[in-house]
């Protein structure tokens, strides 16, 4: 039966995470926005890494194809629910919680049981982007060459979230540039491996609590079985190598979308609280045209926010129930990314100098939200994914 309310258990999780965000993240939110690159030590209580031995047990259950399964509200819905609330607290700090990042998602998605045993408890960042290769991750030029029992890695990676604070890096490189996407593989490199060096930390518009690193690989040698997935290059078999790692994003995009609605909710909550003091309140009964311009704008933001949140929940619910959700994940990310950014910016505007002032956090949320419409697939990349699916186009037809 159609029901778009959260069940008891997720309700509880949401309240719990909201309290954590309120009590652990909010008090230090401004501090780490100002003290960019300082390690937020207050977050150690939130360490997400499984204890040794737990990693393998956390293996994913996949529903059997063709068998009608009972409706599930599982891991993916829990994940977007907690991410949303944590980002209501602070996006940058949420991204700085050990063990929650993309690198870990990739390891969980692709690693063999033996690799999960070795890497399952690490704090892994993901190094994909290069100075000359952003959204077009098929064009990366970092290389991996097998030399005896070791891979030798060379290249420069930028925009690595948690690249400094992590203890492990998952890095993408090509094993044969002439073979295109099929030759792109991902490798796990523990920190301290000679030849891997963090050379720069970025100074950013927002999410300053989260470190963003440039990592240089110079003849960096790692064991042969630190490759995620098969080392074999199968031409035409896109789904094996590159496709498989790209699939990681189908699972993480609803998460980034959840970040965006969490951040936007923070801005809306505070804005509505401030404007209530000025006599503006939403009653949800008179026409927007009979409301003040401020109220009308709040109604519209609430509508867009709700629509974005429901798209996120749908994408997560589909994943929980074993339905392919690549298009719906991108829809959620596209809508949440743009709506989250628009809402936080409008809230600053509606609250005037109070919105713009660093006395409150509204201006910070308006800076933080921008990246959420960019990383893990920009707005335009999401539109491209949705359009190709809808129109049944290849990447050669719809470029």
């Amino acid at each position: 039966m159609i029901n778009l309310e959260l069940p008891e258990q997720l309700d509880g999780l949401q309240q719990l995470m909201h309290a954590v965000a309120q009590n652990v993240l909010r008090p230090v939110s401004r501090k780490y926005d100002t003290q960019e690159h300082d390690v937020p030590t207050e977050l150690s209580v939130l360490d997400r890494r499984p204890k040794p031995g737990q990693a393998a047990a956390a293996a994913k259950q996949r529903p059997e194809p063709g068998v009608k399964q009972p409706n599930k509200n599982g891991q993916n819905m829990q994940s977007v629910t907690s991410i949303q609330e944590m980002c209501w607290g602070d996006v940058g700090l949420m991204l700085s919680i050990p063990g929650q990042g993309l690198g870990n998602a990739a390891i969980n998605a692709v690693a063999t049981p033996e690799q999960k045993e070795r890497f399952g408890t690490c704090y892994a960042s993901m190094a994909i982007t290069e100075p000359a290769s952003g959204s077009d991750s098929g064009s990366i030029s970092a290389t991996a060459v097998l030399d005896g029992d070791e891979w030798v890695l060379n290249g420069e990676k930028i925009f690595v979230t948690a690249g400094d604070r992590c203890d492990t890096v998952v890095m993408w490189a090509t094993v044969d540039k002439s073979k295109g996407k099929a030759a792109i593989k991902s490798f796990v490199i523990p920190k301290g491996t000679p030849g891997m060096e963090v050379v720069k930390l970025e100074h950013k518009l927002g999410i300053r609590a989260s470190d963003t690193a440039t990592i240089l690989f110079t003849n960096c040698r790692i064991p042969k079985d630190n490759i995620l997935g098969s080392p074999e290059v199968r031409e035409g078999g896109k789904r094996e190598g590159f496709g498989k790692v790209m699939q990681t994003f189908d699972n993480t995009r609803p998460g980034v979308a959840a970040m965006s609605i969490g951040c936007a909710r923070a801005a809306l909550d505070l804005t509505e609280e401030l404007l209530k003091k000025e006599g503006y309140e939403l009653s949800y009964d008179k026409s927007v045209w009979d409301s003040s311009a401020i109220e009308a704008e709040l109604y519209r933001m609430e509508a867009d926010w709700d629509a974005a949140r429901l798209l996120v929940l749908r994408a997560a619910w589909m994943a929980d129930n074993g339905h392919p959700n690549s298009m719906e994940a991108s829809m959620a990310k596209a809508k949440a990314g743009r709506v989250g950014n628009a809402i936080t910016l409008r809230c600053v505007e509606l609250c005037g100098t109070l919105g713009y002032s660093q006395e409150l956090l509204l201006e910070k949320w308006a800076r933080d939200s921008k990246i959420l419409d960019i990383f893990e697939g920009t707005q335009q990349i999401q539109q491209l994914i949705v359009a190709r699916r809808l129109l049944n186009k290849s990447s050669a037809e719809l470029k």
Binding site: E5, E8, Y299, A307, L384, K393, E397, L398
Partner: protein, 373 residues
Amino acid sequence: MSEQTAKPLFDLNLTDEQQLMRDTVRRFAQTELRPIARKADEAAAAPSGIYEKTLELGFNAVQIPEALGGFGAPRSPISNMLLIEDLAWGDMSLAIGALSALSFINTVLDQGNESQQAKLLARFTEESFQAAAIALTEPGARFDPRRLKTKAAKRGHDGYVLLGEKTLVPFASDAAQLLVIAELEGQGPTAFAIDPKQAGVTVTTESYMGLRPLALGRVKLDNVEVPLDAKLGGDKPFDLDRLLDLTRIGSAALAVGTCQAILDYVKDYCNERVAFGEPISNRQSVAFMIADIAIELDGLRLLTYRAASRAEQGLSFKREAYLAQLQAADKGMKIATDGVQLLGGHGFIREHMVELWYRNLRAVSLLEGVLSV
């Protein structure tokens, strides 16, 4: 499930009955409504027999109590919403025409007392089509349902007298029953069941930008006398909020169905239309517009489903219905104008459906009080 939870799981699956109904209604919309939509628009009239045909779908009798000849199923805003969405995919005007009686039925079930239900609903279990409608909206640039100009007053001890003017009324003179919402002195907005053929009622046909097959009517009430039991709910005050909220869901569902029709249409058109040597859908400026139609449509659909589901579960749904209707008016119109744009000059001529959907979707912002789920 091992333990009973107070709140059900998040779920986007239809029940088996809803799925079955959906399959049937979609087929009907495709084979019976869509092919006649253009002709009905040009004629500003529904082709004869079409509403009789919709009776085959059997929706009117579903929720009517068994004692009155219905099936006695519980009130289901979700099922009604799905019905609106799927019929509107075929044609928004004909969907309103087909479901106007159901809207009347829903309101009488929600707010009428037992004897009124018996009196007013029995006719809808018969095999002939019975038109009925709710008359809420009043003429003028800024209608506000909270400031009704149509007035009702007690007439001695045996009835009421109605004075005022209603607009945008489906079927108007052809209806067997109208539910007129009027301001009753001292009691606020109140619903009265009237027969549009009775003395004092004058009906004139209106002409609008869209919704043309409905031949919507202006109903003038010049001291129309009705008996005491015409007042819906008896002594119980009429819950105008509930009617408004349920009809906001109805309007949103109309937009969802119509926007889905647009998406399906422009997808095919842009894949086939060749310019500069390739399908225009190979261009991002075209493809991204279509992607955005799909994204906003799905957001709107989920808002609408949520509001209906909350209504069905007895949860408060004022906020959700309001937001669904607001989003339907905003995004629905945006989708419609983009639909015309994507066809270029061809979108502007009446050979294609997009201009018709454009005209119909402009109505979503003013359909409060028309289609209750």
